[in-house]
């Protein structure tokens, strides 16, 4: 599974403070720790409170680039902030994210092609988040068709079927699993699938248990990537075991060690 570390996000107090004070040390540490824990890419979000998001993303990406060349997922809803982030992060970055309506796809698909980036597309459109798997599948189909038209190859398109907190809408986790399975049938080769995993447990009291259980379920449905807390060791080991049980990695007695040695290559 392609693991995208979620921790460099201005919503976290320490990150928000680091951005405000332009103190790169906490950022460097988060980058290093997440990569060591198995992240293959790092999500980068300046947070809602940043006074000047353009200046904040510039500073943040530059700070991360001082310690790693790993791909960055630029996480913003503002196209100009996205563009600046991609320019500084370089080719192989990830746009996080576009929604499914045409006016957004018209902005972000060409941006992904131009910057040799992957694109995360949420199955949300002008009508909001669909209630079930079919609604998610319809938006995904529209996105896949638009990506083909604009020349973004399916392996650089990542469909996010949008998981919601289980304590808010308990039917959604199942709908999302069904949507992941269906997305894999949309094209050949199929687009990738991704989830912002931690959302499933938002506001609950057993977050880690819910996160790792749902991750394993989603992997079994065909999930390729997740934005998640890679420093949750039990969850990462559950993911590694799932990869073996799904025959995506060759078993060896020390399969956890082997996975960790191969990740982050």
């Amino acid at each position: 599974m392609y693991a995208i570390g979620e921790r460099i996000n201005g919503m976290f107090k320490s990150v928000g403070a680091a951005i405000r004070e332009q103190n790169p040390d906490p950022i460097h540490e988060l980058a290093r720790k997440q990569l060591a824990a198995g992240a293959q890419a790092l999500d980068v979000n300046v947070g809602p409170a940043a006074a000047d998001p353009l200046a904040a993303i510039e500073w943040l990406v530059k700070a991360i680039r001082q310690v790693t060349d790993a791909p960055l997922a630029i996480d913003t809803t503002k196209p100009e902030v996205m563009r600046r982030g991609l320019e500084l992060a370089g080719p192989g970055s990830i746009i996080n994210s576009t929604k499914g309506q045409q006016e957004q796809l018209d902005i972000y698909l060409p941006m992904a092609v131009e910057h040799q980036a992957s694109l995360i597309a949420l199955t949300i459109d002008e009508n909001g988040i669909p209630r079930d798997a079919n609604g998610r599948g319809e938006i995904a189909l529209r996105v896949v068709a638009a990506a083909m038209e604009k020349g973004l190859p399916p392996e650089r398109l990542m469909i996010d079927a949008v998981i919601l907190p289980v304590n808010v809408t308990q039917a959604t986790p199942w709908h999302v699993l069904e949507a992941i399975r269906n997305v894999k049938l949309l094209s050949d080769p199929p687009p990738k699938t991704v989830l912002g995993l931690s959302n499933v447990s938002q506001g609950t009291t057993q977050r880690e248990l819910l996160n790792r259980t749902y991750l394993v379920m989603a992997l079994a449905a065909g999930l390729d990537a997740a934005i998640l807390d890679v420093q949750d060791r039990e969850m990462m080991e559950a993911m590694i075991a799932a990869e073996v049980l799904l025959n995506r990695a060759v078993y060896a007695d020390d399969f956890v060690k082997a996975y960790r040695a191969s990740a982050g290559r």
Partner: protein, 320 residues
């Protein structure tokens, strides 16, 4: 609509491994062999690169064989008591890229040759030929742990390929390999899970993964060839998908495995000419493994080796 070739995109590649060291590199070899580096399934030139030619090693034994099938005797009877002369014949007449010296005489049930005697044989073969050397123990773990470090030491700097490290016996040979600058063969009994585990174990001792060649045991035609092939294929797929613990080049013991088969050895006229059958057995097995992704072939009969070389040529010249 024009036909579009479906092309698989892989995340990773097989490691490249070089065996042998020239004087400039601290050894005395006149040639070196590099294998691996492939970026697709074998010989899919439209999909990826096969940057290095699969290599042919010819095997010789440190003591004369106990029982030699007639076609083998015919080919090497004049030299098989003298490893140095045997090695020269393999290189000069049969065109071997490498020599695989198998120290069967060290086995307690054979001649129980001492580490010192074995090391002398290694030295004589290194002196006789300029190609890189594979040094292979007798297969008895305790004895190999005495013999291999000494043989490794006298060949220090020659960048030989030493075999083999197994799940139950890997520490001594791995340490020798690291100390004397050689490459290592890791072995598993036709079991990809154990193969991966051995590679994890030797890498934990500090041996770089780029210094390993995999030997997954070999089944000859009629004796598990298809099974060996499927493991080779699965190993290559894992390597291309980014599994660093299985990204090593593969070696196959084709000669010794094939000539064990009664179909290859027996004087049975109803099975066809005995002079051809064993050679065909060996060449057929090798060809199958070539398609399976083997990088180093340890061969016995010069005509089987020549047939394999022709097949390699034809598969490589299709590269556009």
């Amino acid at each position: 609509m024009p036909f579009e070739m479906p092309v698989e995109k892989w995340a990773s590649a097989v490691n490249s491994v070089t065996i042998g060291a020239t004087p400039a590199e601290g050894g005395t070899r006149t040639s070196v062999v590099t294998v691996g580096g492939d970026t697709s399934l074998p010989f899919l030139h439209f999909e990826g690169k096969t940057p290095h030619r699969p290599a042919i090693a010819m095997e010789l034994l440190d003591v004369p064989p106990e029982e030699w099938p007639a076609p083998m005797a015919e080919a090497v009877a004049d030299v098989c008591g003298d490893p140095a002369a045997w090695a020269r014949k393999c290189v000069e007449q049969f065109g071997a890229d490498l020599i695989c010296l198998r120290l069967v005489g060290a086995h307690p049930d054979r001649r129980d040759r001492s580490p010192e005697e074995c090391a002398e044989t290694v030295k004589s073969v290194l002196k006789a030929v300029g190609v890189p050397l594979i040094i292979w123990g007798c297969g008895q773990a305790d004895k190999d742990n005495e013999v291999m470090p000494r043989c490794s030491e006298v060949a220090a700097g020659e960048n030989c390929l030493l075999g083999t490290a197994t799940q139950d016996n890997y520490k001594t040979i791995t340490a020798a390999c690291m100390a004397d600058g050689h490459k290592l063969i890791t072995e598993a009994p036709l079991d990809i899970n154990i193969q991966k585990q051995v590679n994890i174990l030797v890498s934990e001792m500090g041996l770089d993964l780029s210094r390993i060649v995999i030997y997954q045991a070999t089944g000859g035609l009629g004796y598990g060839m298809e099974y060996a092939y499927s493991i080779m294929e699965r190993t290559r797929l894992a390597a291309l998908s980014g599994d660093r613990m299985l990204a090593m080049p593969l070696l196959a013991q084709v000669g010794s495995e094939c000539w064990k088969a009664k179909e290859a050895r027996a004087e049975a006229p109803e099975w066809g000419l005995a002079s051809e059958r064993g050679v065909a057995w060996e060449a057929t097995t090798a060809t199958c493994f070539l398609h399976g992704g083997t990088h180093i072939f340890v061969m016995w009969h010069p005509r089987a080796a020549a047939l394999l070389r022709e097949t390699i040529d034809s598969l490589l010249t299709q590269e556009d």
